[in-house]
Each structure stands twice: as structure tokens, then as C-alpha cells.
């Protein structure tokens, strides 16, 4: 079955060509369904391949399928070949599965848009590139997909190009991604210079001769990590992701939540052997992940755009994944990628459904009380919120818990990291339920026209929501910890062949006892509930205009801790959120990026005076250049 792997990216490519060429010829029905069916076909093939891999001997399940020889120079050659193994098939399923659901959803969501055909063409092109990224058996193919998804993301963010800020958002996303790509490319060159190949299998095999923590491996892993920070929106390159919400909401669900942004995680897990021999880099990744998770979660508590909340939440969750990578818990990272793909796609699609029902309104202060009007959306959204907050037995609990467990046991400072991670988890529960309460509870705060118009989305949109909700509930089953006595951790077993070397190298300083493990879980659940309760207490009857009165009302309700909460937690958090948003994000990071742009313009402005238009001066430059080169040749060598 593995030899048919080429079919998986082929179907979306065909879908892209049909939708792209026929966007003015075919009707909307065909334009929507052909690309969706293409992705479904890929999903079916992926499923068959997945079963195949499952039934094979795990040691020999990894197959490299060569499509053709890209080029061949001397003894250096690059193949256009796909790697089928446990990791790539897992990602295949996520990409094509969730991709299909989002395609179907889009048919409903984009039905009134004039760029319908173009949209589906881009979407299929994205899926194609993402599949290349995941399937490539060497860094070159991976890089091609890597650039390709960046390009599609650029095109889709700027999809509604008539608004200027949307174009700027697209450009920002692209430039920040390019900065990251630069790191990736340099890492690839470093790898070629040392190993003479870019094939994963050969690079990882010949890694043995490299000095652990030596300058070479540090440079390679750091450059790869810079690539990952760009694509996966980590500090300091995360600011493009919230801006990227300018694109259509299903795009945010597919690209900016479920698939593309996790490419960085995939790439590092794929190269886990390199990272394992570079503990310094791992430590940096841990720090960056932690900082990102905290900062983004803080900012998310204060956002009023429904999609912006989810965007910062995505950044924060990605931070969790990088934390897991930082402590060498690659399984946990992949686990969180999977569950996050389920519930974040669900949340984004749910928010899309809300926006659709509200005729394009995105400000949550204008919503409220939607739970009766949009029942399916409300219940699925609620499931998503519970999942992300980490309440058992929904999927988010298991994956987040596994990350926390590894943080706790990681070295002497593990407990500190664990505590900080718990704060981020607390904020996660808080901002998600804040979003839920403000949007779905209380009284409707929009205009009358909107109120009249609010309706549940069509079945095309709610069906994917329901499927994703089921996945969000049950997704955690693939990684139930052994402590519950339900047998082995399935995902760990599954990824064993790929992560074996890294797991062996990773030494757990203090292995937890079963009781300790259960205790940590209990603490995590309690903290999540605390977050929900806090959100409930502040936002149950949210009123955009009279917020203080709301809090006062709770005091009347004898909620004795409220004021304490308010002063000790809520206010400092909000203050921090404002500071982070204005100072860190807007001034430091955006300022730095804009500063580079300004520097470039200034340099360009200086250099242009060389071009004075006078031939005499040109001849003079030329002779001066010759003299300078002569000095270089004869006196400096």
C-alpha cells in the first residue's frame, strides 16, 4: 500500500488545478465539492496506508518511496521521495481528515463569497503543500512544502484584499515566516556541508559522530528552531498569527490552528535525534515555549475579538508543545498537536459559525445570549472549551497533563517550570470560558437588526462541528496514561520506532510514583476548575457597559472571594495583558521588525546616491573599485 503514497498529495493537486482553472466555468456546487472530495480521497488513501503501517513490523514500517530523482550531481543527489512511517502517517490523517471537514464547512461558510473558486483552489494548494512538508523524506522536500504553505497562508490571509490592513497582515505573516525560513535554509546548508546529504535516514544515521553540544550541532538545531519559531508563531516571531485572523475563519481553523502552525513541531520531532544531542538548544526551546505560553495566554484574557482570543490561545498552546519538546517529551508534543488540532479547529469553526450567524460581527461585546439561538454551535463550542481547559476525560486533559508531568520531572527546576505551566493552564481555562460566557450567556448586546438575523448555521457547517466535537471528546483515548490501568499508552507505542533513540537518551531525574502522578492530575483539574469559576464569577452576566456593576452584584451574592480574586488575580492579569500587548508585542517585536524595514529603506536611500547619472563619476567608481581590488589582491591575502 505504501507505494501508492503519491496519490495522497496528488488528489489535492488535481483538485487545485480543477478549481483554479475552472473557477469561472464550473458552478459553485462543483467548485466546492470537487476539492472536498479530493481531500476525502486523500484521507481514504491515508487511512489505508495507516492500517498498513499498523500491521507491519514496527521496525520495518518506515518506507521511503522514491517518485523520481530531483537532481544528481557528482555523488550528491536529492530525490523527490516520500517517507512513510508512523509519524508521517499520523500527520497525514490529521491533515486530510480535518482538512476534509473544513472543506465541507467552507462550502457553507463561503457560499456568498465571490471568490469561491479561488478560495477552494488556494485551500487545496495548501493541503498539497502541507502534505509535501509532512511526507518529504529529506529536508529539501520538507523545505519546499514549508515555503509552499507559507505562500498559501499569505494568499489566504490577504484573501479579502479590498481591506488594506488585511494586505498588511498578509505581508507581515509572509515576512515573519521568511525570517524563520532563513534559519531553516541555513540549517539545511549546514547539514549538507557536514553530512553531504539531506535524507532524513542518512542524516540521523551519521549523527553518531557529532560531538554532543558542539558548536556544529548547536548551530544546526538553533537554526532549525528559528525556522520553527517563524512557522509556529513562537517568541519573538509570533505577532503575525493574531494578525493572520484577517483571513476567512475556516482558513484560520485549518492553517492557523490545526496544521501549518504545527509544522514547526513536526519538523523538530522529525529531527528529534539531532535535538537530543543538543541539550542547550532544548533548554532554549523550553524557555521560549514557556514564555510564549505565558505571554500569549495573558494577552488572550483581554481580547474582545472572538478570533483574536482564539489566535492568542493557539500561540499559547503552541508554547505548550514547545515546552514538551524542550524537555524531550516528543510524544507529548505530538499528542498535544493532535488533540489541539481537534479542539482548536472545533473552536475556530464554532466561532466562524457565530460570525456567520451574526452577519460578520466579530466583537464579543456585541454578542451574548447566543446559546439559545445557536444550540448546536453552543454545545460544540462548550465541548471545545472544556477540552482546551483540561477537564477529564476530554482530550485536552490527557495531552496537557502529559506535558505537565514531563515538566515536573525535568531536572532540579522542573517544579518551577511546572508551576509556571500551571499558571498558563489556569489562564487558558479562564480566557476560554470568559469567551464562552460573554458570547453565549447573558443578554444579547448587538443591534436589533443583528438580533433579528441571528440563526443557526446550515447543516453543512454544523456537521463538521459535531464530528470535531466527538473527536475532541474521545481524542484523548489514544494516549491514556498507564496509571489508569487501561493498558499501554497507545501513541507512545506507536511512535516508539521514531523516538527510540531520543527516549533512551532522555534521563528522567525523578520518576514519579503513581500516587504522585494522580496527585498532579488532581491539582491540574482543580486549577482548571478554578479558572472556569473565576470566569463564571466575572462574566456570567457580562455587560459591556456596566462591568463594575456586575462585579458589585456578585459581591451582593456573598461571593466572598470575589474581591480578593479581583485584586489579586484579575486586575494584575489585565494590567499585564495590556503591558504585554502594547509594550512587548507592538513596540518591541513589531518595532524590531519595522525597524529592520526602516533600516533597509535608509540604507537603500544612501546607496542610491552612487547612481548619480554622471558617466564621469561612474568611470571613477570603476577605477576606484579596480584599485581597491588590486590592493586586496596584492597586499591582503
Amino acid at each position: 500500500m505504501s507505494q501508492y503514497i503519491y496519490l495522497v498529495p496528488l488528489f489535492p493537486l488535481i483538485g487545485f488545478l480543477i478549481a483554479g482553472l475552472g473557477r469561472n466555468v464550473l458552478g459553485k456546487t462543483l467548485l466546492g465539492w470537487i476539492p472536498s472530495m479530493a481531500v476525502l480521497a486523500s484521507f481514504v488513501v491515508s487511512l489505508l496506508i495507516f492500517r498498513d503501517v499498523q500491521h507491519m513490523d514496527p521496525e520495518h514500517a518506515s518506507v521511503v518511496v522514491q517518485i523520481y530523482n530531483f537532481f544528481h550531481v557528482g555523488n550528491f543527489s536529492v530525490n523527490f521521495s516520500f517517507q512513510v512511517d508512523q509519524l508521517s502517517t499520523l500527520f497525514l490523517l490529521i491533515i486530510t481528515g480535518i482538512g476534509f471537514l473544513i472543506h465541507v464547512y467552507s462550502i457553507g461558510y463561503m457560499s456568498h463569497d465571490e471568490g469561491f473558486g479561488k478560495y477552494f483552489a488556494y485551500l487545496n494548494l495548501f493541503v498539497f503543500n502541507m502534505l509535501l512538508l509532512v511526507l518529504g523524506s529529506n529536508y529539501i522536500i520538507m523545505f519546499i512544502g514549508w515555503e509552499g504553505v507559507g505562500l498559501c497562508s499569505y494568499l489566504l490571509i490577504g484573501f479579502w484584499y479590498k481591506k488594506k490592513e488585511y494586505c498588511n497582515a498578509a505581508k507581515k505573516a509572509f515576512i515573519m515566516n521568511r525570517i524563520g525560513d532563513l534559519g531553516f535554509l541555513i540549517a539545511v546548508f549546514l547539514i549538507i556541508s557536514r553530512f553531504g546529504t539531506t535524507e532524513f535516514s542518512e542524516v540521523f544515521r551519521s549523527q553518531a559522530g557529532i560531538v554532543a553540544n558542539g558548536p556544529f550541532i548547536l548551530a544546526v538545531t538553533l537554526c532549525l528552531f528559528i525556522g520553527a519559531t517563524g512557522k509556529s508563531a513562537q517568541l519573538p516571531l509570533f505577532t503575525w498569527l493574531p494578525d493572520a485572523m484577517a483571513g476567512p475563519t475556516p482558513v484560520s481553523a485549518l492553517i492557523h490552528a490545526a496544521t501549518m502552525v504545527t509544522a514547526g513541531v513536526y519538523m523538530i520531532v522529525r529531527s528529534n535525534i539531532l535535538f537530543t544531542i543538543a541539550p542547550v538548544t532544548q533548554h532554549i526551546i523550553l524557555m521560549v515555549g514557556l514564555a510564549t505560553a505565558l505571554i500569549a495566554a495573558t494577552i488572550a484574557t483581554r481580547q474582545n475579538d472572538i478570533k483574536k482570543v482564539l489566535a492568542y490561545s493557539t500561540v499559547s498552546q503552541l508554547g505548550f508543545m514547545f515546552m514538551a519538546i524542550g524537555v524531550g517529551a516528543y510524544t507529548a508534543a505530538v499528542f498535544h498537536v493532535i488533540t489541539h488540532a481537534f479542539f482548536k479547529a472545533l473552536l475556530f469553526l464554532g466561532s466562524g459559525s457565530v460570525i456567520h450567524g451574526m452577519s460578520g460581527e466579530q466583537d464579543i461585546r456585541m454578542m451574548g445570549g447566543l446559546k439559545d439561538k445557536m444550540k448546536t454551535t453552543y454545545y460544540t463550542f462548550l465541548i471545545g472549551c472544556i477540552a482546551i481547559a483540561g477537564i477529564p476525560p476530554l482530550s485536552g486533559f490527557f495531552s496537557k497533563d502529559e506535558i505537565m508531568m514531563h515538566l515536573f520531572t525535568n531536572g532540579a527546576y522542573g517544579k518551577v517550570f511546572w508551576a509556571l505551566g500551571m499558571i498558563a493552564a489556569f489562564m487558558t481555562a479562564f480566557y476560554m470560558f470568559r469567551l464562552l460566557f460573554i458570547t453565549f450567556f447573558g443578554k444579547f448586546r448587538g443591534t436589533h437588526e443583528q438580533e433579528h438575523h441571528v440563526h443557526e448555521s446550515p447543516a453543512l457547517m454544523t456537521m463538521p462541528l459535531i464530528v470535531l466535537a466527538i473527536l475532541s471528546i474521545g481524542g484523548g483515548l489514544i494516549g491514556v496514561p498507564e496509571v489508569f490501568g487501561l493498558g499501554e499508552h497507545w501513541l507512545k507505542e506507536w511512535l516508539e520506532p521514531i523516538l527510540l533513540k531520543s527516549e533512551l537518551a532522555h534521563i528522567y531525574i525523578n520518576e514519579l510514583s503513581h500516587r504522585g502522578e494522580l496527585l498532579l492530575m488532581a491539582i491540574a483539574v482543580i486549577i482548571a476548575f478554578l479558572g472556569i469559576i473565576l470566569a463564571w464569577s466575572v462574566y456570567k452576566n457580562y455587560d459591556a457597559k456596566k462591568q463594575n456593576k456586575g462585579i458589585a452584584k456578585f459581591l451582593e451574592d456573598k461571593w466572598l472571594f470575589d474581591e480578593a480574586y479581583d485584586n489579586a488575580i484579575v486586575k494584575p492579569t489585565f494590567a499585564a495583558a495590556n503591558v504585554l500587548k502594547t509594550n512587548v508585542e507592538e513596540q518591541v517585536i513589531d518595532g524590531a521588525v519595522n525597524g529592520v524595514g526602516k533600516l533597509l529603506h535608509a540604507a537603500s536611500n544612501r546607496l542610491r546616491y552612487l547612481q548619480s547619472g554622471m558617466v564621469g563619476f561612474y568611470l571613477f567608481i570603476m577605477v576606484a573599485g579596480i584599485i581597491a581590488l588590486a590592493i586586496l589582491l596584492f597586499f591582503i591575502h
Binding site: 542610491r608 546616491y609 547612481q611 548619480s612 547619472g613 554622471m614 564621469g616 568611470l619 577605477v623
Partner: protein
């Protein structure tokens, strides 16, 4: 006579040509200076030809002369065109193309 003398003479002529091309603003004078550079090369080629007892360098000289003539005829045509347009052959008059 040692070959070095020819070399020095020719390089001196060549540098004269370069400096002339740099200092003057009259297009035709610059053209003449460039011709001087080419003639310096011709001189050196003939000297080397004698030194190596190899006539191919002399054939090269012929080619340089012919190509230089072709180049000069094109150059003069361009300068005439320029003169008709701006009534001057000062090279710095034409400087519309710049940043």
C-alpha cells in the same frame, strides 16, 4: 632590449589613457583616450610577440585594430546622435537616468 621596458612603457600609456578618460568631459576626447589604452595593448602585444617568437599576437593586433575601428564608428554615431539632441558633447550633460 629587455621586455620589461616595453611593459613599463605600455602600462604607462595605458594609465595615461585611463587618467585621460577620467579627467576629460568631452566624449570624443574620452574616446581618444580609450583608443590610447587599446594602442598601449597593441604595443605590448607586438613586444611579447617578438619576445616569444610567436606571430599569433600580431594577428591579434590586427583584430584589435579592426574591432576598435568598428567600435569607434558606433561610438561616433552615438555621439553625433547625442550632439543633435543636446547640442553638446559633454558627457555629464546627459544625466536624466539616475536614482
Amino acid at each position: 632590449m629587455p621586455i620589461q621596458y616595453y611593459l613599463y612603457l605600455s602600462l604607462a600609456l595605458f594609465c595615461t589613457g585611463i587618467i585621460g578618460a577620467l579627467m576629460r568631459r568631452n566624449a570624443i576626447v574620452i574616446l581618444m583616450c580609450i583608443e590610447l589604452m587599446l594602442n598601449a595593448v597593441n604595443l605590448l602585444l607586438v613586444a611579447f610577440s617578438n619576445h616569444f617568437n610567436d606571430a599569433s599576437a600580431q594577428i591579434f593586433v590586427f583584430f584589435i585594430m579592426v574591432v576598435a575601428a568598428a567600435e569607434v564608428s558606433i561610438g561616433l554615431a552615438i555621439i553625433v546622435l547625442m550632439y543633435r539632441r543636446v547640442h553638446s558633447i559633454d558627457i555629464n550633460i546627459l544625466n536624466r537616468l539616475k536614482n
